[in-house]
């Protein structure tokens, strides 16, 4: 709660202070994911990522990980659905 007040006061976003997962979607075919914890499932139709709080499921067709580094992941493919689990 202290963090929340601090961030509100200075107008900061969550990913700067609480290391929350940041997601950037470009159209229907590209998705950038930052500050993720681990990959739980990986297949061409579904990628499940462990975040700091909860899981993130990315559903689609012909999903590929174009770039995979300890902090950033780029997913390429036909995106259908992004859901918090």
């Amino acid at each position: 709660m202290k963090n929340a007040r601090f961030m509100e006061t200075f107008g900061l976003t969550d990913d700067l202070c609480e290391n929350t997962t940041r997601m950037t979607v470009c159209g229907k075919r590209e998705l950038y994911l930052e500050n993720y914890k681990a990959i739980l499932e990986y297949s061409e139709d579904e990628i499940v990522v462990q975040m700091n709080r909860g899981k993130l499921g990315i559903l689609g067709n012909d999903l590929k990980i174009s770039y995979y580094s300890p902090t950033i992941m780029k997913i390429f493919g036909e995106l259908h659905c992004i859901e918090y689990r």
Binding site: A38, L40, E44, I65, S66, Y68, P70
Partner: protein, 334 residues
């Protein structure tokens, strides 16, 4: 990014594992960056740098995971393969030779200190001397070039040429007292109007035309200037170059000629009418002969007579013949 990867070299690896996500998380922990990850039935295929590929292979073999090296890409592998062919060595030798040859030539001329002498004029002089871009450095003799420039241009008091790598630097010092040209002075080289009138035709071969067809000009007005301006990229005049004007100009102008003939001798009171008439005819003929002579003179020149008007007046003691011509006269200067 792709180019950097190619320069460093990368490999395509297949890891035979059912636990794909586990393998990916392992790579994350080991700070290994993977590219183009693709799911296969018996594992994953991905691209990775050579050093990371080696780390993955060592660690996987310790854990009993099978790893297969599928492809090798990038500059290190290309060179490894290319050195086996003689054409690579020939190409390398030729490129080094080309580099060596290019670095021993003049590729840029940099003038300093010239204000009156414009750069195009200087480059023109250099071209006459035999200096051109791409010429071998050893063919440029700086002292002789400096002396040549000084001889060619009297406004230059000091010239120094030196070679800085592939650049030929020319330092100049000009005489400050040298006559400045601003395009307004007249000189003998200018083409000036020979009469007042209208320009009918103008052909400029050399020089800067200052008038156009249909313009009214005054006598001695400059029609073609001998000072040709040099313009820079923005269109402002940088300097003037003096040339001997050449061209052809046709002017429509009016010409008036008055011929007077005084009656010769005193009229005698006892002179009869026949004699008097004879004398008058003789004097008129003289006047007409004068007109014919004048017209012949005009024909020798390049003159086209547009309109002519002859008036003969008789006074008590003289004949006055007024010849009014409107003509187009052309003058050629070569």
């Amino acid at each position: 990014m792709k180019l950097i990867r190619w320069l460093k070299g990368y490999v395509v690896i297949r890891v035979f594992t059912e636990n794909r996500s586990g393998f990916l998380n392992y790579c994350k922990r080991m700070h290994i960056v993977l590219y183009q990850i693709r799911e296969e039935t018996d594992g994953v295929v991905f691209q990775v740098t050579c050093t990371d590929g080696e780390r993955i292979r060592n660690n996987c073999s310790k854990n009993g995971i099978k790893v297969a090296l599928l492809e090798k890409h990038g500059l290190p592998f290309f060179i490894q393969k290319a050195i086996q062919y003689s054409s690579f060595w020939i190409g390398l030798f030729l490129s080094l030779l080309l580099l060596y040859q290019s670095s021993h030539r003049i590729w840029y001329v940099e003038p300093f200190g010239n204000e009156e002498l414009s750069n195009p004029e200087l480059f023109c002089l250099l071209e006459h001397y035999g200096v051109y871009l791409g010429m071998p450095q050893n063919e440029v003799i700086s002292k002789q070039l400096g002396a040549y420039l000084r001889n060619q241009k009297e406004e230059l008091t000091w010239v120094s040429c030196r070679k800085d790598g592939t650049i030929l630097t020319i330092d100049m010092k000009e005489n400050d007292g040298y006559r400045k040209m601003d395009g307004t002075q007249t000189s003998e080289l200018d083409f000036v109007a020979f009469a007042e009138g209208e320009i009918v035709k103008i052909i400029t071969k050399k020089g800067m035309p200052l008038v156009k067809k249909g313009d009214m000009v005054q006598k001695d007005q400059i029609l073609i200037s001998s000072q040709v301006p040099y313009l820079d990229e923005s269109g402002t005049i940088m300097n003037y170059r003096v040339v001997d004007t050449q061209g052809e100009i046709w002017i429509r102008h009016k010409e008036e000629e008055r011929i007077t003939i005084s009656k010769a001798g005193n009229e005698k009171s006892d002179e009869n009418g026949e004699k008097k008439a004879l004398r008058t005819i003789t004097q008129e003929r003289k006047a007409l002969e004068k007109i014919v002579a004048y017209m012949n003179e005009l024909q020798k020149k390049e003159v086209e007579i547009v309109r002519k008007n002859v008036t003969i007046r008789r006074n008590s003691n003289m004949y006055s013949i007024e010849l009014s011509l409107e003509e187009i006269e052309g003058v050629r200067k070569e």
